[in-house]
């Protein structure tokens, strides 16, 4: 399936407005040509406008065939009033978007010191949508979290080590209202430099203290497993400093942890791994060479990895680490000594939002190993299609009867500022969905840690992963039962949400329930429930579900959705969403303004035509007409689109609810658009009637000269340029020298244009020749008229804005008035 086109809602709305304007164009042209037809028909009778020579005419004015003339006039009208259609709008908007993208790319506030990279807008198309995001769909790992793993805790031989508190734990404590123990028994000895990937604090282990622990043998074995069971490669850059190239950040964290505790992995070749470790008997640091026999690699199916090594004491060892459930089912009877405690610890760790792995080992005797090795090598060298399965099977044979050593806990730190950011987003009224593969407990606790679930928020659970409901997918009957359960939970949720309108809700749903919730019978109710919740967490969800959820969110809300993700498993989600990332802005004004200025211009033409017996005579000189959109009114629009800031970045962050206007698209509603269109018509009426009544008829100068066609055109045009640019100045909230330059510059440009264009020979400048310099500029009436007209066109909008700001303020008005 093709990913949907990322056209913005504003663009789609704009298209509809263009249709409206196009209808207006047709209507105006039609009315014009109808009346022209009637007028022309009269010329054929005894109406007798002899000065038009109706006796020898072309087809355009032929009174004997008024319908043909009217039709041709209709085509002329389409050309003349083509100004109603803001063709240059699309060009201007594109320019704005490109400039906006450049600003986004340049923004130092979005520059990441760590990666030395700034934000990159990959498409200029979606900038304005960023202001209207209603729902954010996010992945967890790498988006909410940094995807940089830190070894924080471990459980060895039934004893939990590691005293640092994770962010999740802190958040949970805060949620329970516990005051945090400021002195979180961090050993004073440990004022060491922080090591990346290692945040383990425990006085019992660090600084060789582990040798005094009662279960020191296990501790030694445990860290040996961490130091040996991996595929990382050491890189010695400076003497004494070792870096590890690992497949995953988790693995690097293990090796680093082992190194920090005192089992420094420093050399690897095809057949051996060398560790520099403490010899307990002598108390000296010695290098020990472990012969590496086999690596049974990690795969997502096996969910474990192990290595077979021969230690310097010639013992054969199988060292394994893997998902707790996988390791636990492979323990030997005597290896289960600490199973209960370890399980409990793992449970606690995962509630604290940590990633856990179980660690185990086994001693092999030579005969058993030899027999296994033969089979394994055979499988390895086989060329059959099921080689991989065969290998897994062989590995499975040796990876059993393990002895449990303990478990590790790795923290995937939340990105800096995530809770704060999510808090702001929530205040801005944005719904946030987190789609994660985590377990329910982990997901909920992470939810608390990053403010997704907040104090005073009610949790609604839709769960199938409860004891007793297992393996439902295969069984038909169970399937129906599960469906019922999900349906019931959703219905309960809805009644709860509608019952209490004042509380915020967080919905937590697991992957299995999601299968049913996305069923076409349930989806509507599910979305109804979900849209009323501020936060939705989907735990245990698959990448495919992420994409489906995104599509439904988009189609059900009809609003803009934004998907954030870093990994390949998020691609589906990102393609489905309207936006693939970002935040802020109030748009639409620009487009409204465009319609305003074109309607104002277009309708002055129409009023004039009405006074020239609908003969399609333009009110203005041709060059004035063609320069209107290009020279005198385009730059301010671009300035508005690119440089307008209703609020400083600081204010936006301080008052996130400003964003709600964007979501509701307040500034680009139909009423708003129609208001601006009405304002355009009103301005054109004011301009035309005030100008004609003020300057035509009597002498318009002291020397008795009267205003002719060219003078009226120039005066009206001056008024249009001034009015349209001043309206822009009135609507702008933010003046830097750029805005001033563009707005007042456009007006100045018009007068300069008049001087230049008016001075080129009359065969080229025709009706504009010296009109300004000779006729208009010395006339006081000209200047009084334009001042009158400009103020008169500005008054309606200004009054409206004044009253609305004072008596019916929108959010942004309130904040603007509060601004220092």
């Amino acid at each position: 399936m093709d990913p949907p086109s990322k056209r913005t809602r504003i663009e789609r709305r704009m298209d509809r407005i263009i249709y409206v304007l196009f209808s207006a164009l047709i209507l105006v042209s039609f009315v014009g040509s109808l009346l022209f037809g009637i007028e022309t028909k009269k010329d054929g009778g005894d109406y007798g406008r002899w000065y038009l020579r109706p006796d020898i005419t072309t087809v355009f004015f032929d009174p004997r065939r008024p319908s043909v003339a009217a039709f041709l006039h209709f085509l002329t009208g389409l050309m003349l009033y083509g100004y109603l259609i803001p063709i240059s709008l699309y060009v201007s908007i594109e320019i704005c978007k490109v400039l906006q993208s450049i600003f986004i790319n340049q923004d130092q506030a979005m520059y990441d010191e760590e990666t030395k990279r700034s934000a990159h807008a990959r498409t200029s198309n979606l900038n304005e949508e960023l202001g209207q995001v209603c729902t954010i769909l996010s992945d967890k790992t790498g988006t909410l979290t940094c995807n940089s793993m830190e070894f924080v805790k471990c459980s060895i031989a039934g004893t939990a080590y590691g005293r640092g508190m994770t962010e999740v734990e802190i958040a949970l404590a805060r949620k329970r209202g516990e005051t945090l123990d400021e002195q979180r028994d961090i050993d004073t000895v440990e004022s060491r430099e922080p090591v990346k990937g290692f945040n383990f604090r425990d006085g019992r282990i660090m600084n060789r203290k582990w040798v005094n622990e009662p279960n020191r043998d296990y501790i030694e074995k445990f860290f040996r497993v961490l130091a040996l069971c991996h595929t990382a490669v050491p890189e010695v850059l400076d003497p004494g400093k070792i870096f590890y190239e690992a497949e995953s950040p988790d693995e690097a964290a293990f090796v680093i942890a082992a190194r920090e505790v005192g089992f420094q992995f420093f050399k690897r070749n095809q057949t051996s791994i060398q560790l520099r470790e403490l010899d307990r008997s002598s108390g000296e640091i010695v290098d020990r060479v472990y012969e590496l026999l086999h690596v049974l690699e990690f795969s997502s199916a096996r969910r474990r990895m192990s290595v077979i090594v021969r230690n310097p004491e010639r013992q054969l060892l199988l060292l394994a680490k893997g998902a707790d459930s996988v390791i636990f089912e492979r323990l030997s009877e005597e290896g289960r000594m600490f199973e209960a405690e370890t399980k409990e610890h793992i449970e606690r760790y995962s509630e604290a939002g940590l990633r856990t792995l179980a660690v185990a080992y086994r001693e092999l005797d030579d005969d058993e190993y030899k027999r296994w090795e033969q089979e394994y090598v055979k499988a390895k060298t086989s060329v059959s299609a099921d080689r991989d399965d065969l290998l897994d099977e062989k590995a499975d044979m040796i990876e059993r009867d393990l002895i449990l050593l303990g478990a590790t806990a790795i923290e995937d730190k939340l990105q800096k500022g995530v809770p704060d950011c999510i808090d702001k987003l929530a205040q801005a009224g944005i719904h946030i969905w987190v789609l994660t593969g985590d377990k329910k407990g982990t997901a909920i606790n992470i939810g608390y840690a990053c403010s997704l679930l907040r104090h005073g928020m009610k949790e609604i659970l839709v769960m199938l992963e409860k004891p007793g409901i297992e393996a439902i997918e295969r069984d038909k009957e169970e399937f129906a039962k599960a469906y019922k359960i999900v349906e019931k939970q959703i219905d309960e949720g809805i009644s709860q949400v509608t019952g209490e309108s004042n509380t915020q809700f967080g919905l937590i749903i697991d992957g299995k329930s999601l299968i049913f919730a996305l069923d076409k019978n349930l989806i509507i109710r599910f979305m109804e429930l979900a849209m009323k919740c501020a936060t939705v967490i989907c735990c245990r969800s698959s990448p495919k579900q992420k994409a489906i959820v995104t599509r439904w969110v988009k189609s059900k809300t009809g609003r803009t959705t934004l998907a954030i993700g870093d990994g390949a498993n998020d691609v589906g989600m990102i393609q489905e969403a309207d936006i693939g990332v970002g935040i802020t802005g109030v748009e639409g004004m620009q487009i409204c303004y465009f319609f305003y200025k074109n309607i104002t211009f277009g309708f002055t033409l129409f009023w004039f035509e009405a006074y020239s017996s609908f003969s399609a005579q333009p009110a203005y000189n041709d060059w004035y007409m063609s320069s209107y959109n290009v020279l005198f009114t385009s730059l301010p629009v671009i300035a508005l689109g690119v440089f307008e800031q209703d609020f400083s970045a600081r204010h936006c962050l301080k008052y996130p609810s400003l964003y709600k206007e964007g979501i509701d698209n307040v500034l680009f509603r139909w009423i708003h658009i129609l208001g601006w269109m009405f304002n355009g018509v009103l301005s054109s009426v004011i301009i035309f009637f005030l100008t004609t009544n003020s300057i035509t008829g009597q002498a318009f100068r002291k020397d008795g000269q009267v205003a002719d066609y060219s003078i009226l055109g120039l005066t009206m045009y001056t008024c249009v340029v001034l009015a349209v640019n001043c309206q822009m100045a009135l609507s702008i909230n933010y003046f830097t020298w750029i805005q001033h330059l563009f707005i007042w510059g456009s007006i100045t440009l018009w007068f300069k244009f008049l001087l230049v264009y008016g001075s080129i020979p009359p065969t080229l400048s025709t009706t504009a020749y010296k009109v300004f310099i000779e006729a208009c500029a010395p006339s006081i009436r000209y200047w009084l008229t334009i001042i009158l007209v400009v103020i008169a066109t500005l008054l309606p909008l200004f009054s409206y804005r004044a009253f609305q700001t004072r008596f019916q303020p929108m959010v942004h008005d309130s904040i603007q008035t509060r601004r220092p």
Partner: protein
Amino acid sequence: MTDTDRGTQRDRHSAFSLFTQQSLPACKPVLTPEWVIMTFLFIGFIFIPVGLVTLRASHSVVEIVERYDIGCVPEPFRIDKVSYIQDDSIPKNCSLSFKVPKYMKAPIYIYYQLDNYYQNHRRYVKSRSDKQLLHGQNEHGISSCQPVEVNNDRPIIPCGLIAWSLFNDTFTFIRNRAELKVNRKNIAWKSDRGHKFGKNVYPFNFQNGTLIGGGKLNPTIPLSDQEDLIVWMRTSALPSFRKLYGRIEKDLDVDDVVVVHLMNNYNTYSFGGKKKLVLSTTSWLGGKNDFLGLAYVFIGSSSVTIAVVFTLLHLLSPRHYEDTSYLPWN
């Protein structure tokens, strides 16, 4: 602080960086009630006096408007005015008289006013050749003059509907049996005389066709000196317009009786147009027009009214800006 840090710090304040980071110094006007009221009052206090001064200027102008298109048709012909005007055998002279209502200070401008005359009709406006008016004999560039472009295969000079329909009523003024001299020089724009109408272009074959439109021109005078034509060719904006005919450079006293002898040649009867003779003085703002002054007063007083209404509403529903209770997140 490292060197690079210092570098970015400095960079942050350079003009270019202020621009790219969109943090240029800016002024942010806010519509506070004080500003709104001040603005409206300011507009009011400027506009009302300006309006009054404008009205005063308009009232200082003395204007006499005499319609003559009906009065100049003798009684017997009034049923069919068109055939009267088209019949060359009937003399078209006519006279009218009026009393000067107020002292009129020279210069007194004389206009003829036509109503319901579409000089701004597209077909009409287009029908001229600026090239020909300036350079004369030229086969090219007269196609725009349709339908009055050639006569006997020679281009008519000046060609086009506008020139062809030249207004040709003439007026002479008599006060106390003495003719009032009318200065008919410099009634056209200087730029038109100098740059739009040629000094070497003579209207040698003007109005020689079968159908004669309006006035004729003296073929010995170059176009640049044919001021009536130049005035006429400056097409009007609206279907009711005045055009300058000349100036009386003598003051007229109250109750002076002025007799106008006119040649009522021009046909406005066939399309129901009116013809008027206008005598007017001017002020620093031009002719008599109360509209501009009234509009100023109207806008000004509306502003004051809005200011008052706004102030009252503002005082009746007080709101403190420190109060944030109405903000949605509270």
